[in-house]
Subunit: 385 residues, 2 copies
């Protein structure tokens, strides 16, 4: 709460620091989507403060008893939620991540090492100063949240290998960062990876619902990982669905690519290549494939998906259940937009990232993802026979 | 249940295969503790079958709904337990691990790749044949549990890097294996690491209870990871406790080493060196340190412990609570032996290993450790605003 207050009160100062970052990045020729993420506005600063308040209002996860049982010999076991220790995050030029990550780490009893982009260094530093002051005001060590001033590649490498100090590293970034993590990281990692998200429109779908869901998932914020990138359409629905869907997407500036069958229905589509299927565009581009049914959709997602989020639009509950069981992504939606894969939407207040791996945690990472559970066993002298 | 039946029925055959392994290992000069682990007896084969039956009787974890909530917009979220996929285990010459790991993996819906020691190859192969036959008898693919015939170092390296196929690798072994994992593994790993387990005897301890607990934790099976390796004693309890404790340990063949204060009380102790404190002896050796109280015990464990299991013997509840909160090991015991850190003792039927890392799971790994939890979100056309 103190950090939220301080960030609100420092709005003007934060916007000044951000303007420096923004102008410098602009002068270096940084592109529109990245500049948009970097930019702070009064509303975005207010949003950072609101996220901190939401996280502050969540139930304290630390000390929660997540299980308890008694052994036959009378030993009393409890399973207790505890902090991980030191959580590090490597992220791109989004200053709000600094506040979100700091709030989640402090609320879950962890120290944080935040390594943002060089483009956001002044913004992050200014946010970090407010957080450190708030920590000290409330009797916590100011350096329990640290903003790395070294934003070099070598600095990142050292962080990835600081096995004595880092209990969890969350890398949030593109293919280059993930390749560096795979090659060099020796600390425990939870990957915030690519979102090559699919929507499958079944023959049983309400086609106007499908149109709204696809349009929202593709166009509401095309540069984020929960945006839909691929559209799979049941052969029987294709002729009735694709022409209208195409018109709506094209009118919003989406470049739509199709396989042969899709283009036989909507010839204006560009031809999709094999190389389109595994790609996360993060842009106003969508590739369409016509499939024979839910099994082909499941196979396609199994081959090309990234385990992030998938959706089915279907009226037939059996088909929907089969899609849910057959896909193995962190989040699967039935008759809803993939854009809901988000910590705040999930009720976590904020998120430290979205896990695309299976170990430890999947999907949006809130407070629980920053904890582990250990066992406390109390006895009266029991020994093992 | 079919695998348990087949293993019971094949007892004679398994003992023959094991005798081949045992004789070959003996001829190669393998030491006593390793030979003991390798050896199968009728009782141990019966134990394997009993473990499979216990695992079979456990509740099926797959499909369990572990959480559920509704979004403000009416979206219905459920969190569902699912298999990880393919679980690999690298382990030493303990044939019972083959049956335990196979049972836990199959019960949790996972395929298993089991890479045991070359010393146990015939035993493991014979057990694997019975399991594969049982799988096929019950309509499951026989090769969903595979015993790696290639027990070379290069084969292990390939398994550690099979990122396309392996969802979890559990390495169970000594420092050499863990060093290879740290240097070479690229698949997701949960470390079954060393157990440098401590027992702290407080000034408030019931000293006869402390004697029984230390004796049990050190001598009941000195070659396993949950055996106690270090004894920390409160200065005020040392003179009353150590002479009798020493006599009892020495009479059981334990080599007891002490720091200066301990040796001033029991001069027969050998001198403990700095190099003793981080070591897991896995043998009838124990090092003793006299400390000023619970805080020094906590500091010592923080510096030298391996995060496995620790115990305190104390009558003072406040001191015990402080020890529980101050140590950050997977399992902490109050007035009980460290030897209870074990999947079967915990009620998991068996264990795939004991995690000494913080991510994903800590302590004995049963069925839940072989699963992940994903989200299913059901709607009626909701899109994100």
């Amino acid at each position: 709460m103190a950090a939220a207050d301080r960030i609100s009160a420092a709005t003007h100062h934060l916007l000044e620091a951000n303007a420096d970052d923004f102008n410098k990045a602009g002068a270096e020729g940084i592109s529109g989507a990245l500049l948009d993420r970097l930019r702070l506005t009064e509303a975005r600063v207010a949003g950072m403060a609101a996220s901190l308040q939401k996280v502050a209002a969540l139930e304290d996860p630390i000390g929660q008893e997540t299980a308890a049982w008694e052994f036959e010999n009378g030993l009393q076991l409890t399973k207790i939620r505890v902090p991980l220790g030191v959580v590090a995050v490597i992220y791109e030029a989004r200053p709000n991540v600094t506040a979100d990550a700091a709030g989640l780490c402090v609320k879950s009893g962890n120290a944080a090492i935040l390594r943002g982009s060089s483009y956001a260094l002044r913004s992050n530093h200014a946010i970090g100063v407010e957080i450190a002051t708030a920590l000290e005001q409330t009797g916590l060590p100011g350096d329990s949240v640290q903003i790395m001033q070294d934003t070099s590649r070598e600095g990142a490498r050292q962080l990835m290998q600081a096995v004595e100090w880092v209990d969890l590293l969350v890398p949030r970034g593109g293919p280059k960062l993930l390749a560096a993590i795979a090659a060099e990281a020796t600390v425990p990692v939870v990957i915030d990876g690519a979102g090559n998200c699919h929507i499958y429109v079944d023959a049983s779908a309400d086609l106007s619902m499908a149109t709204e869901i696809v349009f929202n998932a593709k166009t509401s914020r095309p540069g984020v990982c929960n945006a839909a990138e691929k559209l799979l359409v049941h052969r029987e629905a294709a002729a009735g669905f694709l022409p209208n869907m195409y018109e709506k997407l094209a009118a919003a500036g989406v470049l739509v690519k199709g396989d042969g069958t899709a283009r036989s229905i909507v010839p204006q589509m560009e031809a999709a290549a094999e190389s389109d299927w595994p790609v996360e565009y993060l842009d106003l581009v969508m590739a369409v494939k016509v499939v024979d049914g839910v099994e082909e959709a499941i196979d396609h997602i199994g081959r090309y998906g990234t385990g992030h989020s998938e959706a089915i639009v279907a009226g037939d509950q059996h088909v929907a259940d089969r899609f849910v069981a057959g896909t193995d992504s962190a989040v699967v939606f039935v008759n809803a937009s993939t854009r809901f894969t988000d910590g705040e939407e999930f009720g976590f207040g904020a998120e430290i990232g979205i896990s695309t791996q299976k170990l430890h945690v999947r999907g949006p990472m809130g407070l629980d993802a920053l904890t582990s559970e250990r066992y406390v066993v109390r006895g009266e002298g029991q020994v093992r026979v």
